[in-house]
Amino acid sequence: MRSSGHPSMKDVEEIEKKVEQAIKDADTTCKESDAAHCAAAWDNVEELSAAAAHKKVAVQNDPISTDPLEQFCDDNPDADECRVYED
């Protein structure tokens, strides 16, 4: 995660890996444990899938993550290209 706190595709990939793992864990839990633990495991999968989807949307909507100029200006607010004029 970039220190400025902007969402990036790296974060999305991190969560997606967790989703994959959670699905495997849910399958295992349902075989080995009772219905309650099985439900809790699949609920976990749902929570992580939702988080992945939200992160993807956040990256798409965040101009700093998608626009190279915005990324540059975020790192170098003093640069000539990044001057902002208030009317």
């Binding site: 995660m1 991190e14 967790k18 809790a40 699949w42 609920d43 976990n44 949307v57």
Partner: protein, 590 residues
């Protein structure tokens, strides 16, 4: 027409006479008694828009280049316009003469169109403009602005002349009937704009007034008899409310929905009505679930989990179960914020599944709590001023989850199914029963218009509780009756499968409700505005506000169907609730 025939009679007399002396006598007589053809033409009733073209402009053949091919009887028509005697040896029948008259008119019109864009032409028209010869703008808010003639085409025979208002920059039909049949090509499409560019001092200031339709319902949604007594009673009631105004209090809205049901889209639509963009608290935990905009703060109730992911896995408890929520803390903090105090609210990190350090949230104008259990605890429920429940049917939920997760590594149709089925018992036991407490419920179901397996076309129902003081339900045509409405037909063409509306009374868990339902999809902007203009009690502040909001958020999912429309309406209702509680007016955002 009588005048023209008179002219024709006079001409035929000239034509049939043969002797030169008679001709010259007649000619000198004609010159002295009769006005020139141009003056006569411009003096005809209905021809007030025309200016008199300078004869030397017409006599210069260069200015007329290309017209010979457009006008029949060109030579004769030109002679007529310039009052030249036609060749004496030519005899024309009456019918040919009438055609010659028309040709002369067309020729003059086309020359006129070219003359208008010359300096002298502009001058001549300027005098007429200052004299208000072209009429005034019919629009009330233009204050009688003098207009200019304009054509919508430069080709003769296409359309008639219109008048252009420089203030509202729109075109209207000429004010006098007789003027309406003049061909627009005799003025051209350029003329008024060239005129205003040449004489910028005649450009009026832009039309500032905008007509806001006001009806009894917009002024005050409580229906009252339209009698002087009724109106007086209503204005008195308003004064009483102002005196009892709870200034500075926070309005609390609750939104309940399962995961993956479009809560975030709904939140964005709602906050868009109040303006500004909702962002996580600046400089805080990047995984915060809270969104803050100018007037609203949205809190995610997952932050009140008392069991984190590890804890729930150990105990075999889902996030849907009440055992995983700290309702005491939820009640305490929502109460504090409602009373104007800040709260140090925990953060549930959806990525790590752990509870992070708390963040400080200030009390906002409008507090929205969204999550799985906003109406579960009675104490919290009583703090809510307005409650919304998103009820998504099983088939649609399944379709949406497929759309969301199928592209994910690891997910398959099978895993999505298992996930939904495993959560269903807890969902049915703890979440679903909350819907009876909501003030408004949005139900999303598969369409009934066509057999649709993929859940692309949606039937969306807005269920509105009756008898609430803080809002009035939206209705179609006649409140309390049952209406089935297909807007597509003669006035509006829709693409397949079209749109169908339903409105009617019903009961919901023992309480009276009104249901407004939309099945189908919007394809064009005009469908949306057409539908909006037929809905009543929408709480929109100006005609087209709903359409404007839908356009503003056209990238959000559901913007072309009932979810977008009805969620936008709920957003307007939230604004109405806020205004009724605080007695403050919210200026609509453009």
């Amino acid at each position: 027409m009588a005048a023209r025939q008179g002219r024709q009679a006079a001409n035929s007399v000239d034509l049939v006479s043969e002797s030169d002396s008679e001709d010259s006598e007649d000619m000198s007589g004609s010159d002295a008694d009769e006005p020139s053809w141009i003056s006569w033409f411009c003096g005809l009733r209905g021809n007030e828009f025309f200016c008199e073209v300078d004869e030397d402009y017409i006599e210069d053949d260069f200015n007329l280049s290309g017209l010979a091919s457009q006008v029949p009887y060109y030579e004769y028509a030109l002679d007529m316009i310039l009052d030249n005697e036609p060749p004496a040896d030519v005899m024309l029948t009456d019918q040919q003469h009438e055609m010659l008259e028309n040709a002369a008119e067309m020729l003059y019109g086309l020359i006129h169109a070219r003359y208008l864009v010359t300096q002298r032409g502009l001058n001549a028209m300027l005098e007429k403009f200052k004299n208000c010869d072209f009429g005034r703008c019919p629009r009330v808010l233009c204050d009688g602005q003098p207009c200019l003639p304009v054509g919508t085409s430069d080709l003769p025979g296409t359309s008639t002349v219109k008048i252009f208002c420089p203030k509202c920059e729109d075109i209207y039909y000429p004010r006098i009937d007789y003027q309406c049949s003049i061909d627009g090509a005799y003025f051209g499409t350029t003329f008024p704009h060239l005129m205003l560019m040449t004489y910028p001092m005649y450009r009026p200031p832009k039309a500032t007034g905008k007509y806001v339709p006001l009806t009894m319902q917009t002024l005050n949604a409580n229906r009252v008899r339209a009698t002087p007594a009724g109106l007086q009673a209503r204005s008195r009631a308003r004064v009483c409310r102002v005196q009892a105004a709870k200034d500075g209090k926070t309005v609390v809205i609750g939104l309940a929905a399962d995961s993956g049901c479009g809560k975030s889209t709904f939140m964005r639509r709602m906050t868009s009505i109040f303006g500004g963009s909702a962002k996580p608290p600046a400089g805080g935990n990047p995984d915060s679930n809270t969104l803050i905009s100018d007037m609203t703060t949205v809190i995610c109730l997952d932050d009140y989990h008392c069991l984190d992911r590890k804890g729930r896995a150990e105990k075999g408890v889902t996030a849907l179960a009440p055992e995983a929520q700290n309702f005491d803390l939820m009640y305490e903090q929502v109460k504090a914020m409602k009373e104007g105090k800040a709260a140090d609210k925990p953060i549930y990190n959806h990525v790590t599944g752990a509870l992070d350090a708390p963040e400080k949230i200030e009390s906002p104008n409008i507090l929205v709590i969204e999550g799985l259990h906003p109406f579960y605890d009675e104490r919290v429920r009583d703090l809510l001023d307005f409650k919304v429940y998103l009820d998504i049917s099983d088939e649609i939920k399944f379709a949406w989850k497929i759309q969301r997760d199928m592209a994910e590594r690891g997910h398959s149709l099978d895993s999505i199914k298992k996930s939904i089925e495993a959560r269903k018992p807890d969902f049915d036991a703890y979440i679903d029963p909350q819907k009876k407490h909501a003030d408004m419920i949005i139900q999303v179901l598969p369409t009934q218009l066509v057999p649709d397996d993929e859940g692309k076309i949606l039937r969306v129902r807005l269920i509105q509780k009756e008898g609430k003081k803080l809002f009035d339900p939206v209705y179609l045509f006649d409140e309390g009756s049952t209406i089935s409405w297909i807007p597509c037909g003669r006035k509006l063409t829709c693409s397949f499968p079209g749109i169908k509306f339903y409105y009617g009374p019903d009961t919901w868990y023992g309480e009276d409700v009104s249901v407004l339902e939309m099945d189908g999809q919007f394809d064009k902007l005009e469908e949306l505005i057409y539908v909006e203009s037929h809905l009543s009690n929408t709480s929109a502040k100006f005609y087209g506000e709903i359409t404007q909001q839908m356009l503003k958020n056209s990238s959000f999912p559901g913007s072309n169907n009932g979810t977008g429309l009805l969620q936008t309406i709920i957003g307007l209702k939230v604004r109405e609730v806020y205004e009724r509680i605080t007695e403050k007016e919210v200026v609509p955002v453009s």
